[in-house]
């Protein structure tokens, strides 16, 4: 369907990570948790104030803030 930033993904939407742009601490932390190109993710939900977002990756649930999700580009289905 196209490439969008993780922030723009809807709840329950799935996609494949295309690129991860963050560097330094944030980039490292994101990658340590398995958010790397090629991984499939699914948006599980959002906190009541719409931020952070929770997503499913490799069978577990991960949370990210929206401004952190901006660094991740996803090819959505």
């Amino acid at each position: 369907m196209g490439r969008i930033s993780l922030r723009q993904m809807q709840v329950d939407q799935t996609g494949t990570i295309i690129s991860v742009k963050g560097t330094g601490e944030l980039g490292r932390r994101i990658r340590d948790m398995g958010l790397i190109p090629g991984k499939k993710i699914k948006v599980q939900g959002r906190a009541p104030l719409h931020d952070p977002v929770s997503l499913r990756i490799m069978g577990f649930t991960l949370t990210l803030r929206n401004n952190e999700a901006d660094h991740i580009e996803v090819e959505v289905q």
Binding site: V20, T23, R28, D32, I36, P48, T61, T63, L64
Partner: protein
């Protein structure tokens, strides 16, 4: 001889559970990622040998990203354990192996304990253990830490592999990186750069990952080599950015996961269900973190916790109260009048009883919190609240420290301050450190409970909720203030795991509850008792001068001189019968005349005790402060109690107890302190609430202050928290009391 083993793994992989299983040590078992910050040690004696086990903090990686990672890595490098027992969550294999791979790259022998086998099975995950072990070239033992299954096999495997040598794992990171690594490795080897501590290739990898800690120590070791290495890193980085638009760190992470994938792909793992469906957990989350339902449920759960605590603890609280009343009665009968009696009843029994009487309350509260923590709900609270916390310059994970400190009333600022270690960013951490003491710790609860019972008994739960809200709002506003003045700066990432919901084990919850309650009792039993006695001494000595005592004595004689003997004997009978207990009935039997006499005599006693306390060391301190504290509605007795509260907050209660049991009409009466305050002069809802506000905000107890100094790394912040908090508290109390007085009149 025993062998040193390090227990390491991801947060929430069951490390603590396995550690307890192996060592039998009692330890907190939680469900929040990263609870285990401290290094915990234990000894395991088994058929397979004796092992010294160190429980390393749970981490996802070894990049020195967080304090835990630094702690874990430093331990592995400095203490050189014979083996790492790596707990791997079988239901979450791919991500867990990311850490394992890094251990293997370090070249320390690794044994994998493949834990949560039951969970994996339930999720339809099948793992070929033999193959995994062969491909990774390390022993792998399946375990279920919760039931102890696999423990024996694990110990046997450790024993038979512990003295072996590990061949460090070498992963290919792609041509560009590999070339750079080879080049760097050679330079490092030939100049023995940091080789006493780290393997050459590992140092090279860390340089490419731009690992702060290694780069710093490299600079110290040999500036020339360090610059040479940094030059190579710069070159590769430039090249990778130009060709692939990524940094070396990114490529290294990709290849590590690539390596794991290549292992798992060889039919090591099979899924019989959609691996991304955590049915039950997801269903619960749909409701529990729902936009509208989530906050309602959260408030409901908080309210429920209050109700649970207050309603169910009432009965045992009553038992405790009558128990101490009974002991006081015995002591009263057995001991002769004088300082010793006063010490035992007013110092020891009232002091300790006043504090221990709240044990059931605290226990019920902890029981509820332990359940929330172990079930995984607390992590959801962090998730839901992050947006709010961030507004105040904090982190969603700050909620942990706030809650441990008493964000859900109960808890203790001491472990709360320690819990801030899970926070990475120094700024958010420091801010959390300085604001968590505003929470309602278990020691402040008795103070609130006392005042609420005395003055707001009709709305107990509501007022307690109000107190919680005030402390939260206050803490958050102060945090915002600090983050925009003394502690400015960017916020840190919120990349966090939401653990699946788990039914907490009864054993886990009980251990957890007991540990925290015991902590409280220990504190109450030792520090409090000691301080109760010191305070009793401060309140008793130097005592009244001889001339004064005689004045009171002659006053008594004067009152009795005009009274007929019949009435006097009536009063005496009453006094002997009072000791047997049934005070009320006896009073009713007194004739009107005897009542009048008894009242005036009691008044003399009261005046004498009052004068004595006022003349005591504590009384002098309290009186000298009364001039300022009267603006907040506090008299000298409250002042003494508040000064004592710096030693430990629960002392506010025992001091008030001591102050009033010395100063009141009839020291033999065992009416609870609440009842006494209700009728005491100068007390009313306004004073009570002003005192509540002061208690929320003023200087943390000295144990917390010491911890803040240690955690913040400087006494400056500790001193800051004492002075700043007290000034703030005083300002707020005065404001409340003065405005309240105007509104009410």
């Amino acid at each position: 001889m025993s062998t040193a083993i390090a227990l390491a793994g991801n947060p929430n992989s069951g490390k603590t559970t396995l550690f307890n299983e192996l060592t039998g040590a009692r330890q907190h078992v939680g469900n929040y990622p990263g609870v285990t910050v401290e290094k915990k040690q234990g000894t395991c004696v088994s058929d397979s040998g004796k092992f010294d086990i160190v429980d390393l903090p749970g981490t996802y990686s070894l990049t020195a990203y967080s304090l835990e990672e630094v702690v874990a890595r430093d331990f592995l490098v400095n203490e050189k354990p014979s083996m790492i027992v790596n707990i791997v969550d079988a239901s979450n294999l791919e991500r867990n192996l990311y850490l394992s791979v890094q251990f293997m790259e370090m070249g320390i022998p690794v044994t994998i304990a493949l834990n949560m086998m039951d969970v994996a099975k339930k999720r339809g995950i099948k793992i070929d253990i033999k193959k995994l072990s062969k491909l990774l070239n390390v022993p792998v033992v399946p375990t279920i830490a919760r039931s102890g299954e696999g423990k024996k096999e694990l110990l046997q495997t450790i024993a038979s592999n512990v003295n072996g040598k590990a061949e460090p794992l070498t992963i290919s990171y792609g041509r560009d990186i590999d070339t750079a690594l080879d080049e760097m490795e050679e330079i490092i080897q030939s100049s023995t750069f940091l080789t006493a501590r780290y393997r050459a290739r590992w140092t090279a990898i860390k340089y490419l990952e731009k690992d702060q800690q290694i780069v710093e120590s490299g600079k110290k070791e040999d500036m020339k080599v360090a610059l040479q290495l940094e030059g190579i890193v710069k070159k590769v980085t430039g090249h990778l950015l130009a060709t692939l638009d990524t940094h070396p760190e990114g490529i290294i992470a990709d290849h590590r996961y690539g390596f794991i994938n290549s292992v798992l792909k060889q039919n090591v793992i099979g899924y019989f269900q959609d691996k991304n469906r955590l049915q039950l957990s997801d269903k619960i989350d749909k409701a529990v973190t729902n936009r509208f339902l989530g906050p309602i449920i959260m408030v409901g759960i908080l309210m429920g916790l209050y109700k649970f605590t207050f309603t169910y603890s009432e009965i045992p609280v009553g038992w405790f109260e009558s128990f101490f009343g009974w002991i006081g009665g015995i002591a009263d009968n057995a001991l002769p009048e004088g300082h010793l009696k006063s010490l035992v009843i007013s110092g020891i029994i009232d002091g300790v009883g006043g504090v221990l009487g709240f044990v059931p309350l605290i226990m019920f509260m902890f029981l509820g919190i332990a359940f929330l923590e172990d079930s995984g709900y607390l992590a959801r609270m962090a998730f839901m609240l992050d947006r709010v916390f961030r507004m105040f310059g904090l982190h969603g994970s700050s909620v942990m420290a706030f809650i441990v400190s008493g964000g859900i009333a109960g808890g203790c600022a001491v472990p709360g301050v320690m819990a801030t270690r899970t926070l990475k960013s120094p700024k958010e951490r420091l801010t959390t450190l300085l604001t968590v003491p505003f929470m309602n710790c278990g020691a402040k609860l008795p103070v609130y409970a006392l005042l609420v019972a005395a003055f707001f008994s009709k709305n107990e739960a509501t007022v307690m909720l109000l107190i919680t809200l005030i402390s939260w709002v206050g803490a958050l506003l102060v945090a915002r203030l600090l983050r925009s003045t003394v502690i400015k700066g960017e916020s840190t990432p919120f990349v966090m795991e939401l653990p699946p919901y788990r039914m907490p084990t009864i054993k886990g919850i009980l251990i957890h509850t007991w540990e925290r309650t015991w902590q409280y009792i220990k504190k109450a039993g030792t520090v409090i008792l000691g301080i109760s006695i010191v305070l009793w001494a401060m309140m008793t000595f130097p005592g009244l001068p001889e001339t004064k005592t005689q004045e009171f004595e002659s006053l008594r004689l004067f009152i009795m001189s005009g009274v007929p003997a019949r009435v006097l004997s009536e009063i005496e009978t009453l006094e002997t019968e009072t000791i047997k207990g049934d005070n009320l009935k006896v009073t009713r039997k007194l004739s009107a005349k005897a009542m009048v006499v008894k009242k005036s005599l009691a008044q003399v006693d009261f005046d004498e005790a009052h004068a004595g306390l006022k003349n005591s060391i504590a009384g002098r301190i309290g009186s000298s402060l009364e001039g300022i504290t009267k603006f907040a509605g506090f008299d000298w007795r409250t002042n003494i109690a508040l000064v004592g509260g710096f030693a430990a907050k629960e002392i506010v209660v025992s001091t008030l107890g001591t102050a009033y049991s010395i100063g009141e009409v009839d020291p033999e009466e065992t009416t609870s302190l609440s009842d006494r305050l209700k009728v005491a002069e100068g007390w009313g809802p306004l004073t009570a609430f002003s005192l509540i506000i002061f208690t929320i905000f003023y200087a943390p107890c000295f144990v917390t202050v010491v911890c803040i100094a240690k955690e913040a790394g400087s006494w400056k912040w500790a001193a800051f928290s004492v002075v700043f908090n007290t000034v703030l508290a005083f300002g707020l109390s005065v404001l409340f009391y003065q405005v309240g007085s105007i509104v009410l009149t």
